[in-house]
């Protein structure tokens, strides 16, 4: 039996069960999104768990997750629907061969069975059980403005018009999560239709919890050291500071290597898991790593 997500605390609890440690402000935003039937726009640096949130929401609601990955040039044919032209051709040929190709059948080839449903249309149709799915529109900032404008219509009315068939409307609107890495500003008109939440890097205590939930078996000492080091890195002047995803990867990598504690040598060897820019690695490797570790040791 799934818990009903009827309060902020219930959401926090349900997410925790699934290994997602949400703070209260995220839980409140999700709760309001569900209650008000509004899409939720999540922004934050890469690797803070935006996409993960949608997955966890879908599993805690026990519904399907429909994901639409955005990219430049994404169009209606790949996002909403497309006619199955080859099948239509075959159908016409078949009807011709049977000598049945009259005016009426020509009309029928634009019927629902020739329609290929893409993610947005699937999301409007809902599941077999009538439960609305969770629709994840991932990295909306990568789509271009034409697509954003198209989304406006869908997100405000939850309906799609297919000229040959008519308007398809969602009986129960899907729960929509949009994510953005902020590689560009999402248009205000779209933001107006959404609730907004900026996901920040978590506090050290919370990140430690996340490591424990996500990398089971990580020794406490190691987990704390990893989190402390990552937090120190986030303060440094780097091209790209590590996100939570990097913290988890690193903890897992260290366990795979059988490292029991962070030594300068171990850190230097595995720095590529955490930092993804060569200049960042060059800047941190060696003396800086030693300094950070010493700082962390002194702090504890």
């Amino acid at each position: 039996m799934l818990p009903a997500l009827t309060s902020t605390d219930a959401i926090t609890e349900a997410f925790r069960e699934l290994g997602y440690i949400a703070d209260r402000s995220i839980a409140t935003a999700v709760f309001l999104g569900l209650q008000l039937g509004r899409p939720l726009l999540l922004e934050g640096e890469a690797g803070v768990g935006k996409t993960e949130l949608a997955k966890v929401l879908a599993s805690s609601l026990g519904t399907r997750l429909i994901r639409l990955q955005c990219y430049e040039g994404l169009d209606v044919n790949t996002a909403v629907y497309e006619w199955n032209y080859p099948r239509q051709m075959l159908e016409i040929r078949l009807l011709e061969a049977r000598g049945q190709a009259d005016h009426a059948t020509a009309h029928n080839i634009f019927g629902a069975e020739f329609l290929i449903k893409r993610p947005l249309l699937q999301a409007l149709e809902g599941g077999a059980d009538g439960e609305p799915p969770v629709l994840l529109i991932d990295e909306i900032d990568r789509a271009d403005e034409e697509f954003e404008a198209y989304l406006l219509e869908i997100l405000s009315d939850f309906q799609v018009t297919v000229p040959e068939i008519g308007t398809i409307r969602a009986e129960r609107p899907p729960r929509v999560i949009l994510t953005s890495n902020r590689t560009r500003e999402v248009h205000d008109a779209l933001k107006r239709r959404c609730l907004y939440h900026w996901i920040d890097y978590p506090s050290a205590a919370k990140e430690f919890e996340i490591v424990q939930a996500r990398v089971p078996g990580a020794p406490e000492m190691l987990a704390r050291a990893v989190v402390a080091f990552i937090h120190r890195l986030r303060e440094a002047d780097l091209t790209k500071v590590p996100g939570i995803a990097e913290t988890l990867d690193w903890a897992a990598a260290l366990m795979a290597l059988g490292a029991a504690e962070l030594t300068p040598e171990v850190v230097d060897e595995t720095l590529g898991v955490v930092l993804k820019y060569e200049e960042d690695i060059r800047q941190v490797r060696g003396e800086t790593v030693k300094a950070y570790l010493a700082e962390a040791a002194a702090g504890r």
Binding site: R24, F31, E72, D144, R172
Partner: protein
């Protein structure tokens, strides 16, 4: 739109309460609007509904709910928090809570508080508002990392308004009709020439090179799939976005007027997306201000938004700020960066070098306009200039209209650029060939080998 059970279920008794809640929500929304957030009625209604379904007794919960409803970008959050703390104070501090005229309350609250009117919010986010600067004053003497949180909020310190400063502003924001015409003429020249980028989107076009199979199937359904009509498509092309970083430090003062006019004319053009920043000791984003239709007012606002007029220059720090905070947001579709600076820098040249290199890697093309480069015999000897020089694709003189015309040639980039770039084009367009100079490469040329455009000579 689904109906929220909590509100649908609420009986008439709640409805009376609901009215008051709505009023307070609207009042709060109004206070936020005054502080510069883009709040509309629908978000106020959402907030009222939210108050109906979260525990109102829990202050942090209400705060989080309001944040979800009212904020639209990360930079809104610090402003939101300050207004929230002001508006939802403890009941003991808010005697008029139940009183009539609740709608006036938000305006009245700060006055009651006696918060000095020293620091109204300004900056590009705020400039969309009418010129009502005396609105809700928010103390902006916050924590040190406020700049991190609110890049769009520009604090004006009281002493920025010293007498001499005002005079400088006046110099700067008045412009002769002739200058204005020149700047506009430049943009007219520029627009049709901007370098195009092939986008990932297609359009149907008779001379396209790819088959548009979908449309072809569709059009040929009538003949049962016998292809009688061929349909072609090609990539849509758009001008590359421009990012302008303009130095407004003391040494640039004489030139910044014309250059800002030029940037402004670019920003007003709908053909190209322009992001603009000014820097002296620190970087300020002025994109939204530059879009103001009233051009003199816009320049006055730039003057207001900037705290470090005619002060020193920190190119390295300013570039670092740009690389960290803005590069990913403004250069995603590989734009062209135009830096306008004389390269006089008080900071560490190594930082300038590092950050210019970083900037170069993030953009399609790095153009540097230097007002000094027009003087005969100029060599890039200023420490900052020398550090940045190896990473620049095009180095041009700036400061005169003639030299800016040459910029149009540069920005035209790949499209027929090779012919335009030749001496014939230069002679034709740029009245004084002296305006553009090339130098022997400096001793330490660091060039990315995979980039054929790096530091290409101009003539």
């Amino acid at each position: 739109m689904s109906h929220d059970p909590a509100i649908v279920a609420s009986g008439p008794r709640e409805a009376v309460d609901g009215h008051r809640v709505l009023q307070r929500a609207v009042g709060f929304g109004r206070a936020l609007r005054k502080a510069g957030l883009a709040v509309d009625l629908s978000s106020e209604i959402d907030f009222a509904r939210a108050l109906g379904i979260v525990d109102i007794g829990d202050r942090e919960l209400v705060r989080a709910a309001g944040a979800a409803v009212f904020t639209r970008r990360r930079d809104d959050r610090p402003v939101y928090d300050r207004v929230f703390d002001h508006y939802w104070r403890r009941p003991s501090l808010q005697p008029n809570l139940e009183g009539p005229g609740a709608e006036q309350r938000p305006e009245a609250v700060p006055a009651d508080q006696g918060v000095p009117q020293e620091a109204p919010l300004s900056g590009d986010e705020r400039s969309d508002l009418p010129d009502d600067r005396g609105g809700m004053p928010i103390p902006t003497d916050g924590d040190a990392d406020e700049d991190e949180l609110a890049p769009d909020v520009v604090t004006i310190s009281p002493d920025a308004y010293s007498h001499s400063e005002t005079i400088r502003h006046r110099d700067f924001d008045r412009m002769t009709a002739q200058e204005l015409r020149d700047a506009e003429r430049l943009v007219d020249l520029l627009e049709p020439r901007l370098e195009l980028r092939r986008t990932r989107r297609y359009e149907l076009h008779r001379h396209g090179r790819r088959l548009a199979s979908r449309q072809m199937f569709r059009r040929n359904l009538a003949t049962g799939g016998e292809v009688l009509e061929w349909v072609w498509r090609r990539h849509v092309r758009r001008p590359r976005p421009l990012v302008v970083l303009c130095d407004i430090s003391g040494s640039m003062e004489r030139h910044s007027r014309l250059l800002l006019r030029f940037i402004q004319a670019l920003s007003a053009s709908s053909a190209v997306k322009t992001e603009s920043f000014v820097f002296g000791t620190r970087l300020t984003r002025v994109t939204r201000i530059m879009k103001d239709r009233n051009r003199d007012r816009a320049l006055a606002k730039v003057a207001d938004a900037v705290t470090d007029w005619a002060g020193g220059t920190r190119i390295g720090e300013s570039f670092r700020d740009f690389n960290h905070r803005w590069a990913r947001r403004t250069l995603r579709t590989s734009g062209v960066v135009i830096v306008v600076s004389d390269g006089w820098d008080r900071g560490d040249p190594r930082l300038v070098e590092l950050e210019t290199a970083r900037l170069r890697r993030n953009c399609h093309r790095l153009v540097w306009l230097n007002p000094l480069a027009g003087t005969p015999g100029y060599q890039p000897l200023a420490a900052g200039m020398r550090a940045a020089y190896p990473y620049i694709d095009d180095f041009l003189a700036a400061g005169t209209v003639a030299s800016l015309e040459r910029l149009g040639e540069i920005l035209a980039g790949g499209r027929g650029a090779d012919t335009r770039r030749g001496s014939e084009a230069a002679a034709h367009v740029a009245p004084s060939p002296d305006a553009i100079r090339t130098f022997a490469p400096p001793p330490k040329v660091v060039r990315t080998p995979q980039d054929p455009f790096a530091a290409r000579p101009l003539e």
